[in-house]
Symmetry: C2
Subunit: 335 residues, 2 copies
């Protein structure tokens, strides 16, 4: 119900004070007598004045907005992270701009350039880049950035990630202990740090458990819908007796696929899944497979915290936060 464009000087005029006083009153940025305050607020109310956020950002250089560059919004892992981040930010008076890259490197690049050009105060990036230099190139020097879920060798930016090595290593050991000889693994996009770390853990554990390493048992999906099936078909022709799936969407797909093939989890084949979040399907099958649950909420919370901290203090040392996943063995007993 605001009439067209009420500005701070309209308010000042009506209240019989200067624009400085109005500004200081609404921002509580210097002492204003109670009497004057009352006049100002009265005028604001009468005119239905709302300060223009755009003019304010322009003037102060602060946008009160964070950008989040995500590879796949409709993936519940990221959707939940977005939710947590948004919660944290809005509690601190910040807004969230979303950019979806669909795991496309040039979309990521474009979005970084767009957002850093005066749109946001800081950037959260779950990067799909294979090349750190290309990422780095797109970010203006000194711009507050926190990498999320995916990181790089070069430790130039703060990051908030999940430990990838340990749960996979443990999975292999457990499966080997149960007698598996041919353990297949389905990773995500090969270029991502998370994938690399997981596959490295697999290789190391295979060696440590004295199993034979067969490159045919290592497959890569793209962590988007319908990317696991192809891997599964190939793995099954390789007579593998256990499968580790490194990502939640592909894990659900795996369960469905195996189910349709008439294979029973824990009997015809052993399964270990990153579940990412409490997917529907995992509730039905969680006691028939080992589940690696990532701390999505904690990840989002930490991401929100870190980016705001960096904006506060851009010269703070690089911060690497590594959260750990929960490992729940198939018997349903442990945690």
């Amino acid at each position: 119900m605001v009439s067209l464009k009420v500005t701070i000087s309209d308010v000042a005029k009506l209240a019989g004070v200067s624009t400085a006083t109005v500004s200081h009153t609404i921002n509580e940025t210097r002492y204003v007598s109670q009497e004057t305050k009352d006049k100002v607020y009265q005028a604001i109310k009468e005119l239905g004045y709302t300060p223009d956020a755009s003019a304010r950002s322009f003037r102060t250089g602060k946008k009160q907005t964070i950008g989040f560059i995500v590879p796949d919004i409709s993936n519940k892992f990221f959707a939940t992270m977005i939710e947590t981040v948004e919660n944290h930010l809005s509690a601190h008076g910040y807004h969230l701009i979303i950019a979806n890259t669909e795991e496309n490197m040039s979309r990521e690049e474009t979005n970084i350039r767009l957002l850093t050009a005066g749109l946001v105060d800081g950037l959260l990036i779950a990067s799909t880049m294979d090349d750190f230099a290309r990422l780095d190139e797109a970010i203006p020097t000194g711009f507050p950035v926190v990498l999320v879920d995916r990181t790089f060798e070069e430790k130039k930016y703060s990051s908030v990630c999940v430990s990838n090595f340990q749960p996979i290593y443990r999975s292999v050991c457990r499966l080997a202990g149960k007698g598996s000889k041919r353990i297949g693994i389905i990773g995500g996009l090969p270029r991502l740090s998370s994938t690399k770390e997981r596959i490295a853990a697999y290789r190391e554990a295979i060696a440590d458990c004295d199993l034979e390493l067969d490159e045919n048992l290592i497959r890569y999906g793209d962590s988007r819908e319908n990317s696991a099936q192809h891997c599964l078909e190939e793995l099954l022709t390789q007579n593998c007796d256990a499968i580790i799936v490194c990502q939640g969407l592909m894990a659900s797909e795996t369960i469905i696929y195996l189910h349709k093939q008439g294979m029973r989890l824990g009997q015809d084949i052993d399964l270990v899944s990153f579940v990412d979040y409490d997917s529907d399907i995992n509730q039905l099958y969680s006691n028939q497979m080992d589940c690696i649950t990532q701390p999505v909420e904690a990840l989002g919370e930490a991401a929100g915290e870190q980016i705001l901290a960096r904006i506060e203090n851009p010269d703070a040392p690089i911060f690497e936060k590594v959260l750990t996943s929960t490992y729940k063995p198939s018997d349903g007993a442990g945690r």
Copy 2:
């Protein structure tokens, strides 16, 4: 790799032209000779100039940003919509700001006020308000708004929704035709238009099919995680022989619950579900129940289109778009 604050006048100076020329060159907004263009672009490159989006928005009044007020981001129905909307917008040079209300009316109100105060050019709202006046109050007059998925009696704003009446009506008729006598229904939040329409369809169909209406068979969840179980427990004590679930998240929960109770779909009990999207679980059970699939992508696409159209032409007549769901009967034959 930008050094601190390169402005348009730095570029103008280096290129030996006026700021107007630089502006017109980069915006292609009036004729500039090739020679001058070259000088300008050369200078831009040399200085690493990026126009400040914030200053530009301030000056032009256009933010190139749309706000989307969503009740629950981590609900895949909305996550998918966000993705589709974002795709559409970014293809037209717009950004997307997300605000999550968690089905909380005052969060919605606050966010509307925040976003409309100079942050966005237009607003997409999947409203959780029960009271149209309260919504309307928060929106500045003439501000471009499109209501999404949920609407109101008062046709003041354009909307993009899904037909709610027809699929529920059809569900009841089909179940009655198969011999069901006591059909339970689980709706979403009672205050939402979508819920009201669906429950109205249920009542009407029950009457038309000459079944007995029992208010105990009408239950309401809140469409968030773990909200259906309570309804289910109550419905089962009422000896209902079929259940209609009006929302995807609750539908998945229902399948899991019934499964855990050892009840077989289509045998011990009939089920009709809004599936919202291709949830994991529906892939396993879709042939054992009737599925109502909402056109989420089309909804998002239409929402994106409509809001941009409204921004282009704010005085266009109110536009109500109603999309239809796909009804897939349990035998797997129809569509």
